[in-house]
Symmetry: C2
Subunit: 355 residues, 2 copies
């Protein structure tokens, strides 16, 4: 267990918070994906920064459509694009060889390449040499800052909300962005804090928590939401799930370092098991709340849930209303679908809890 | 969340499992430490591999004594030493500038430098160039393997015991080594699995869990204790504590990936709060057991505690016997001090549970 980020992390962190200097607008690259979940990075950009997305680049076989005009890198450059942004986040975290031809065309067209994959763009020699020659940049969003210390456990000033999940890809980022927007709409000072590559692209800053060395995860989370005005809300994007056999450690470190005053549980109403882990059922929601509260109380004994965000895209309006009524009564919490109903009910609960 | 170890980890992993090629015996370097806890690496080597330790190297002001003859690097080399091993693990995880003169003397004397610190020896230019010139090696033990994937959650064959703690530095490594030795003494097939730098120096292999990128922690733990014969025991060195505001994420990832059948709780009878975190009290032991079981059941619903290992160095024999009797009755578990009483009672419980 150690106090300072090791030098290798430091060397890799020269491009931390690249969004602060990203060249927009973006050509969103979707590869040949046929899985909408894999395109969540591109979808998040289109949902939250539509003005920054000029087009999409898709390889043969790609069935995902973000509703943007299809463009070649050259066409995007002609339309004013500054960067090709990798809009897919494969479970692999690796860059597929079939993508490189388009990346090279983008470099030749003068575009930067922006990626949130684990694989570093600069680690691909053909891209690095080509970009150096063309004078364009290879920007890896998934790079932690240089100056992360281990967690202190010290209570920080200001209010914090963290979205937590029953699984990965259940709307933790979307819910946090929606709650942040609703708070601002009501004139409540708030900041969205991004903990993943898509959120960082949207927010322009943040820390890619799952790329931080495990010894420093809670310290990174503490750094992500620093001391603030007593009434200010940091709305923190959650990661993973306490019930995920691979990623619960990331979830717990983010939970402990965030010291949330308020938690929002995110769930996909159609999900019965951890995605891609059929032997791992998602616990009943009341058990999920108890597990998260028990873990969160270590660093904030006053933590409370203020709502549940559900993805009900597969349900009819009646099915959704029945499910929300039953769940809300069982858990004594507002239950919403950020896409279908908005998150006003959760923000009203937050305001109520503060009075 | 990603599937493959990113290339930067791979590049840093060229010296993984360095013990397999370490040059022994060792000159154990203690710097100028005055805190015996900081010297746990050197102490562990002397306790478990005395035959490999020819001497100790101490700077002015060092008050810790491992009972080895004090030697200069040149004297150690003359006595046959092959490596200077950094025997202190500062909370800092960094290499102190005041150590470099001795490291340079060691290199000049033909010794390898072996370190488990977060700071990479090779990142210090003066050492790297000197070692290259002298033809000696800079071996960083704290380097994860190249081929770590994310956790699968797949149940593996064989038996697994994990030592878990109420805090850091409460004897998790020592207890695991003692239980492993006791199992072998009784002819039970067992392997000690090291998860920290000291354990790796002792075992000759292992994975430095706290240096693994958080996305891969449980996957690394799965790799550390692979499928084995049904009756074989992997005795896995625990890390951190679920009750530690900085390191609980490391603890949880190791717990989930280890899928332990048996847990042993390690505790320092004199410890009331997390070391260096006075605002974080250690929960009552029965609550500690429940918290660990609740977390461990995610990947192994049949997990059980088989004993408690306590550091009672501050107690009289009578005080210890009274404490053990009361604790054993309360928890219905064997309670031992691995140093004072040995761990036979825990191994007997393990055998009983299997019958």
């Amino acid at each position: 267990m150690a106090k300072q980020a090791p030098p290798d992390r430091a060397r890799l962190s020269d491009t931390s918070n690249p969004m602060l200097t990203l060249n927009s607008p973006y050509l969103v690259f979707l590869g040949s994906t046929t899985n909408a979940l894999d395109a969540k990075t591109g979808r998040g950009l289109v949902d939250w920064r539509p003005g920054l997305c000029v087009g999409q680049s898709r390889l043969p076989g790609c069935t995902v459509d973000l509703g943007l005009p299809d463009m070649s890198p050259a066409e995007a450059a002609a339309a004013g694009a500054g960067s090709l942004v990798v809009g897919i986040a494969l479970t692999g975290g690796a860059i597929d060889k079939s993508w490189l031809a388009v990346f090279e065309q983008a470099i030749d067209a003068g575009l930067d390449i922006v990626s949130g994959m684990h694989t570093r763009l600069a680690s691909i020699d053909s891209l690095r040499t080509r970009a150096e020659a063309a004078g364009t940049r290879l920007v890896d969003v998934r790079v932690p800052p240089t100056d992360i210390s281990v967690g202190t456990g010290r209570k920080r000033s200001g209010q914090r909300l963290l979205t937590v999940g029953t699984d990965c890809c259940v709307g933790k980022k979307y819910s946090a962005l929606a709650i942040h927007a609703e708070l601002e709409k009501r004139g409540i000072a708030a900041t969205f804090r991004a903990s993943g590559q898509t959120g960082i692209l949207i927010a322009g800053e943040g820390i890619p928590i799952d790329a931080v060395i495990s010894d420093f995860v809670s310290g990174a989370a503490e750094k992500l939401s620093p001391d603030n005005d007593a009434a200010h809300w940091d709305v923190i994007e959650g990661q993973g799930s306490l019930f995920h056999p691979a990623y619960a450690a990331v979830t717990l470190g983010l939970l402990h370092g965030s010291q949330p005053d308020a938690l929002v549980l995110c769930h996909d109403a159609a999900r019965t098991h951890i995605d891609e882990y059929p032997l791992y059922p998602i616990p009943p929601l009341d058990q999920c709340l108890e597990s998260y509260l028990a873990a969160a109380r270590l660093t904030n004994p006053n933590v409370k849930f203020v709502g549940v965000c559900m993805n009900t895209s597969g349900l009819t309006k009646t099915e959704r209303e029945d499910l929300f009524a039953a769940t809300s009564e069982q858990l004594n919490l507002p239950v919403v679908d950020p896409v279908k109903t908005g998150v006003a009910a959760i923000v009203e609960r937050i305001i109520l809890e503060r009075e």
